[in-house]
């Protein structure tokens, strides 16, 4: 599982003269291993620090440290000789909770036993200060090198295994849009709509599904997106329903604007316009296109329609996070390549009044884009 990712990383580290490394960012660990930590309760009292897992790299071999109370199902590494799993005991009835100290001891132990020397790469933005000190001391005076963010470019091109997970995550978002559409009636609250979508998604996937992002009526002051609350849907309101669903560590994304009552002429006009903007954006997607150029072109499209231009990104990649490279933003000149999975999300908003956003996910193909979002654009 996820051997391609480990191979890409091994090549990158080797090229940079790094024979050993410690990964601490949850995104890095999931991408390198397929390991999916629980997120539903935040940082567990049975963990070993802020990172739900750590991944040690040495000369092409990886060791995954995890607490069994922070995972639902451990991936199957049968046939993967390049990875070893090491469970950290965080809870035992007859001992004090000691996951924090146990992982530090395990790190020191593996470092002492390490045969390689030289520069060690670390993800310093997510490794805890105490974990750092545990490895820095025996390491001294050998050098450390911060490798935060190094994997981000490697993560852009998805493997077939990742695309399979992502397709399922996009299906879950579609299920959510359909359930939200049914629940979005005048008089219902945002949370009623959200709960219906969440319930449908979890029952479809047969397990708990981490979910973002927005469920927001148009009259809220910040109507671009927010968590659902007790705001009641009134006649002529629109509802922004933006769903990211995680499947096996991989996040979809997507947005539909719902119309709980009969659409007004203005709403229909705006919706058609944003629908056209999304079609236009998709038409720009192909290998060789630059992210910032797509961003500029879609913004111009909205401007020419004389609508307020959305104050957010035009799009972004998805994978082990719901917002990653390639980001479709003004300052990013990344060139699109086949195998990337990206979102495009034009919208137009008048704060406190009206809101429309449509967002589709797509796989960049050799000559364009395969759309991964199946929900109808106009759900009424």
């Amino acid at each position: 599982m996820h051997r391609v990712q480990r191979q890409r990383t091994h090549n990158l580290l080797k090229r940079n003269g790094i024979a050993r490394a410690l990964f601490a960012h949850p995104e890095s660990v999931t991408w390198l291993t397929g390991f999916v930590p629980l997120v539903e309760v935040g940082q567990s009292p049975f963990g070993f620090g802020p990172a739900p897992s750590l991944l040690w790299y040495e000369d092409g071999h990886f060791t995954l440290f995890f607490s069994d109370l922070q995972v639902d199902t451990l991936p199957d590494y049968t046939g993967d000789p390049d990875i070893t799993v090491r469970k950290i005991e965080a809870y035992a009835v007859h001992n004090a909770l000691r996951g924090v100290d146990a992982v530090i001891e395990a790190l020191q132990e593996i470092l002492t036993a390490a045969s390689s020397t030289g520069t060690m790469g670390i993800e310093g933005n997510h490794l805890s200060m105490r974990q750092f000190q545990a490895i820095a001391q025996p390491l001294h005076p050998t050098g450390l090198r911060l490798i935060d963010g190094w994997l981000k470019p490697l993560r852009m091109i998805k493997t077939d295994e990742e695309i399979t997970k992502l397709r399922r995550a996009f299906e879950l978002a579609d299920i959510g849009f359909a359930a939200a559409h049914n629940a979005a009636q005048v008089g219902a609250r945002e949370i009623d709509v959200w709960a219906a979508a969440e319930s449908a998604i979890q029952r479809m996937d047969g397990r708990r599904v981490p979910l973002g992002n927005d469920c927001t009526v148009s009259y809220r002051p910040f109507n671009i997106g927010a968590y659902p609350g007790e705001y009641v849907i009134r006649p002529n309101d629109t509802l922004i329903m933006d769903i990211s669903a995680q499947h096996k560590g991989y996040w979809s994304d997507g947005c539909r604007t719902l119309y709980p009552s009969e659409m007004t002429t203005d709403q229909l006009k705006r919706h058609r316009f944003i629908n056209d903007a999304l079609d236009y954006a998709i038409s720009l997607v192909k290998p060789g296109a630059k992210a910032n150029e797509i961003d500029a072109q879609v913004r111009s499209f909205i401007e020419r329609g004389d609508y307020p231009v959305y104050p957010h990104h035009t799009g972004h990649g998805v994978g082990v996070s719901f917002h990653e490279e390639p980001r479709i933003v003004p300052y990013n000149d990344t060139t699109l390549e086949a195998g990337m999975v990206i979102m495009l999300e034009p919208g137009t908003y008048i704060p406190g009044e009206s809101a429309c956003r449509l967002e589709d996910g797509m796989l960049v193909t050799h000559d364009g884009a395969e759309i991964l979002t199946s929900a109808p654009r106009l759900m009424g």
Copy 2:
């Protein structure tokens, strides 16, 4: 909001000669400020490291650092002169994502401006290595002192404000038990039951509600507790439904064993026995009782009934986490005091066969316990 907590902490730090400190554990920050970070999507791509927020302390004054994309509602500190809020810009459409660097700059700035010197307390298990380095460099050669866990004893006695939040969190768990009871039919899957409970809880609270812990049929190999899956409830199965619901940062807990079909004689016998064990456990709760003695007495009770003794804790405190001090475990001689909120959860399990657990939450009062869980013990 939460001034009592800050005052207790100020007194503790002062007594230990610590004039400034940096708190990084989410539990510490929530307890000290009432700030509730979003947990639903894990570590956000719009955060500034593993901690969703940081709290700086200097001579009795606190400064809360947070990214507005990691919070639903910021607490109202009107009338609280001892706290200042500082928003870290993690996202702006025309700039690269820079929350990680922005918080480091903000920390360096506040440290440079600090008038006090001397030992700095830090929560080194949750502060990132890079955040640590940012403050350690200007600090040198002044000392650092690890203060991880220092707040845990201070958190045991709940304030009235906390008890109000906890009462609501327990009400939410009760709503969940009722919904689970209705959904737990033969032929339904664990996830169907869970989704019904989650939906009811969120609709009752009017917002998304972080939830743990277990929804598990008795024939699962590890039937003490696990996340819900596609296991179908069969005739004569029992279902362990253990719900922790978070309200404004405060977690309830609780467990009911559900009987989707008519109870067998053996199930009724076990249920009555565990019900008696819970009553017995509750009868032991009063100021002056020792945690480890309660643990030992409840284990003996189960043993005397000739049932397998649960392989987990007898109970624990709840608050800004769903498992905290005072832990009711063999090695903890903490003395109970009025104002503590604790769980007691006797059970008996035969892995892969039968399972029964009942768990109530309670406020320790001057002469006993006020039960905070209202769900019927036997829900059929």
